[in-house]
Point group: C2
Chain length 215, copies 2
């Protein structure tokens, strides 16, 4: 990207991460830290392979990511954020928060990847951290995800758990509306979300229902 040549911190930041796709690459790495080239391609549907290669090179030059050639057993390259790259998390968080209202319009033909749930759900809190941790399996797109409470926080990872406290199945819009606070559980169910198991587990992490550990 051609520099803005402005002595302004925001402009300098955009000189580095203002290119098309760049911040989305950082998003992928924030979600699933050690990442192979093909993992990135999968998490960035629509990116051209030459652009991905270009951007990775630029990010490496700017000290945002590192490229590690793994030893023979795996024999692959893994990309990782440097501390400087992880410091971009607040930027992605701010952008994500601002973009939430835009999810409602035109859910048309937009692609969704289950692991993207980690970004908005990572900001949720366990409303009853003194209770035993809960696990919720969320089935909404390419792969099932496990949403678990850990030390009052919420972690998201791919996987299945037959002993999960609850299992949620639904389209990405309904699932996200539930976890972003747009609707309560009943409304989500009326809109096609299917819940199996303990509704209280969902209430533990869903936003501002004031009946925390009810049921």
């Amino acid at each position: 990207m051609r520099s803005y040549d402005q002595y302004c911190a925001a402009a300098k930041a955009l000189d580095v991460v203002g290119d098309r796709w760049t911040l989305l690459i950082v998003r992928e790495l924030l979600i699933r830290q050690p990442c192979r080239y093909t993992d990135l391609q999968y998490g960035l549907p629509g990116i051209a392979t030459n652009l991905l290669a270009d951007r990775l090179r630029q990010l490496e030059e700017h000290g945002v990511i590192t490229r590690e050639v793994a030893p023979p057993p795996v024999a692959t390259t893994v990309f990782r954020l440097t501390p400087r790259g992880e410091a971009l998390q607040p930027v992605l968080a701010a952008l994500g928060e601002w973009g939430v209202p835009l999810l409602q319009e035109g859910s048309d033909q937009a692609v969704f990847r289950s692991h993207w749930l980690a970004l908005p759900l990572g900001h949720l809190r366990d409303h009853a951290p003194e209770h035993p941790p809960v696990t919720i399996e969320v089935r909404t797109a390419d792969q099932p995800m496990l949403v678990r409470t850990v030390d009052g926080k919420v972690v998201v990872e791919p996987g299945t758990d037959p002993r999960a406290d609850a299992t949620i199945t639904g389209s990405p819009p309904v699932v996200l509306e539930l976890f972003l606070g747009g609707v309560d559980l009943e409304t989500a169910q009326a809109q096609g979300l299917v819940l199996e198991g303990d509704a209280a587990a969902v209430a533990r992490i869903a936003p501002h229902p004031d009946f925390d550990t009810a049921t």
Copy 2:
């Protein structure tokens, strides 16, 4: 901009503000709210006039800014952020914070506009709000700026004040280093910064000197 077509809040946000120049236009409007077309051009050195017009149209369509045709006495168009547009402030703040380390390298031929001081200085706090407010005149680029304490916060506006508690003169790098906490006042002076008046006034707002109201 072509949409990323991803059902992800951050990607949707970038669909709207991810274009080149777009976030810098928002920066300008965050700093000096009602803005004319030519004011924007001045605050965005290097932008092509057709791009500015394009971006303003897109931002208007997306509900980020409004265009008001002022009544005959002034006979000009003024651009303003909507509440939705002002909600982008955290995005610019996060970008700016991340970009601070980039200011040190290549201060080469980068352009500077004094009113940009408002962004980083707006995050400073008055360390002694119980004392009477202070005013500092900062002369560093195209126009003198007044930095004043108001209710524990710091406001920045263009202007001159012969009765300012202190006057600071210096290049943008030295002035910013001082106010961003890179160096203390003595070091800044050794690097060419000229202070006239009360050093304590500067200490009131400069970051983490633990001698707050000293002298």
